[in-house]
């Protein structure tokens, strides 16, 4: 059962990954990337890494790809222009691809990553909690790496904000705190008028 599931999801993953790079429409490519993430989350679930699988879906599918789609939908992509350089750049691309494939094959396909070199991982009991194990390791053994990663992310946030932040004194903004603080007395005055006699 598990083997069947594994093959189903990995075929899904490989096929949709192929579609990401072959489909012409960028929005469709992004959707296929979503499918790839989804299938890989399913494969992680089979590896008993339920926490990581769900986090993969929340972070990549739920947030990153939504923002990606956001950008891709707003861009005015000229498809003909995208295809124009295909023949001219093909030899270089092929050479790069060949080199990359060769190096990956040398590392992964060789004897050092052979499946017989590894003991198959043990099945955990039903009450095994992936989250608490991960938390224990993350906050004891790898606490330094964890904090460094957090600081790097913070730097990334600050960099992204500072890129868009510029002072433009001439533009007129709404001051929302003033708008929120407005009371009805500031805008509306109730006047008591004496009734006038008709002449």
């Amino acid at each position: 059962m598990e083997t069947i599931l594994f093959y189903v999801f990995s075929t899904f993953m490989v096929l949709s990954a192929l579609m990401v790079i072959t489909v012409h429409n960028p929005v469709r490519a992004a959707f296929f990337l979503v499918l790839t993430f989804f299938a890989s989350a399913a494969v992680w679930l089979l590896l008993e890494a339920e926490f990581l699988a769900v986090i993969l879906i929340i972070v990549y599918v739920g947030a990153v790809m939504v923002l990606f789609l956001f950008v891709v939908m707003m861009l005015d992509v000229n498809l003909a222009e995208l295809k124009s350089g295909f023949v001219k750049n093909l030899p270089i691309a092929l050479a790069v691809a060949l080199v990359m494939f060769g190096t990956i094959y040398y590392v992964v396909g060789g004897s050092q990553f052979d499946i017989h070199n590894f003991v198959p991982p043990e099945r955990h009991a039903a009450d095994y909690s992936n989250i608490s194990e991960l938390g224990k390791v993350l906050y004891t053994e790898y606490v330094f790496a964890f904090e460094i990663a957090a600081v790097i992310l913070l730097v990334g946030i600050i960099a992204a904000i500072s890129l868009t932040l510029r002072r433009r004194p001439n533009t007129r903004h709404q001051k929302i705190e003033e708008q929120v603080a407005v009371k009805s007395e500031d805008r509306l005055r109730v006047v008591k008028l004496e009734p006038q006699e008709r002449k």
Binding site: V27, F31, V34, E50, F51, V54, I55, I57, I58, V61, G62, A63, V66, L67, L69, F70, M73, M74, S129, N130, I131, Q174, I176
Partner: protein, 351 residues
């Protein structure tokens, strides 16, 4: 005969299917009558009567609506991407229903008792936004795409506030399992519920939930006055009905989660309370009735909000999410940390 039925029920697949049906049929019935109650409640709030023609007091109105939508023609806009046009509502409804798999209705009444239940629900709601995105993009309509952009930004923003609010709950309960979160609130009746120490997170969770489901006053995704009906403007017939179903199922999900995580779920408010001798009556026992009545309170709040508040302006929605809710949740997570450290009774005592 009974033995035969019981032995069939013991087959895992059949067992799970029966449980799924036992969750989905009441859920869909609730959704149908929730739409009726909504029209009635808002009607009375606006000094109208609401639907009262189909059946006695209009009780058959939702069924009439469903029949009408089922027999309407499905129109595909020219230039629409047909495959994605049909997949969009499918994603919306399947994620809205799949999230219910981990919702417990009692200490033993749960379909999938998994350790990452809370994250699973967050994941499902975050996939749900793809229904909206696909619908807007595949309809090839400018109103639909505008609404899609609004929704995508709004949902992603409020998901952060919601996630942080849930971090507080997880810290208090020391578990991501919803059953254990409920159990962490037991023992001292109404005072033991997490809504007291986590009051700001509770409010933020529910308001973010309203924003996540695109309900009034955060329903700029539909924005009738500006973009007609938003992402489902091109949908008709049963495909529209499916979006409708998904939205209401999500509202009920947000309500039931608020009841489970902040108001003690199926636990009784009189549990262990000696006041008036209530602690010894049947009212003190935990039962699904308590869960349902707490959920109904939140479901009513959704309707009450819609009848009361005017629609937010879009920039104000974004400001509320990013500049008000997220800072408050972060500060309160620190406060929860302090409460946890001093082992504030009765919520944070280590059991």
């Amino acid at each position: 005969m009974l033995d035969l039925i019981l032995s069939i029920y013991e087959i895992p697949v059949i067992n799970i299917l029966v449980k799924i049906i036992a969750i989905l049929v009441p859920l869909l019935l609730t959704v149908a009558y929730f739409t009726y109650i909504e029209r009635k409640v808002i009607g009375y709030m606006q000094v109208r009567i609401g639907p009262n023609r189909v059946g006695p007091r209009g009780w058959l109105q939702p069924i009439a609506d469903a029949m009408k939508l089922m027999f309407k023609e499905i129109i595909f806009p020219s230039g629409a991407n047909r495959v994605l046009f049909i997949i969009a509502p499918t994603i919306a409804i399947s994620t809205a229903l799949a999230a219910w798999a981990v919702v417990p209705f009692g200490s033993e009444m749960v379909l999938a008792d998994i350790n990452v239940a809370l994250l699973y629900i967050l994941a499902m709601t975050s996939i749900g936004v793809y229904g909206v995105i696909l619908a807007g993009w595949s309809s090839n309509s400018k109103y639909a795409i505008m609404s899609t952009l609004r929704t995508a930004a709004q949902v992603v923003s409020y998901e952060i506030a919601m996630g942080f609010a849930l971090v507080g709950v997880v810290m208090a309960a020391r578990s991501l399992n919803i059953g254990e979160i409920v159990m962490g609130q037991g023992g001292s009746g109404i005072l033991g519920w997490y809504m007291w120490p986590l009051m700001p997170l509770f409010v933020i969770y529910f308001v973010s939930g309203v924003a996540e489901t695109n309900r009034a006053p955060f329903d700029v995704a539909e924005g009738e006055s500006e973009i007609v009906a938003g992402f489902h403007v091109e949908y008709s017939g049963i495909l529209f009905a499916i979006f409708f179903l998904a939205e209401y199922a999500n509202m009920i999900l947000i309500s039931v989660l608020a009841a489970l995580m902040f108001m003690g779920g199926w636990l009784s408010p009189f549990e262990g309370v000696s006041f008036l001798g209530l602690g010894s009556t049947f009212l003190a026992g935990s039962s699904i009735i308590w869960l349902i009545s707490k959920t109904v309170i939140f479901m009513f709040l959704f309707l009450w909000f819609r009848a009361t508040f005017p629609r937010y302006r879009y920039d104000q929605i974004m400001r509320l999410g990013w500049k008000v809710f997220i800072p408050i949740t972060i500060v309160w997570i620190y406060v929860v940390g302090i409460m946890y450290y001093v082992e504030l009774a009765p919520w944070f005592t280590k059991g």
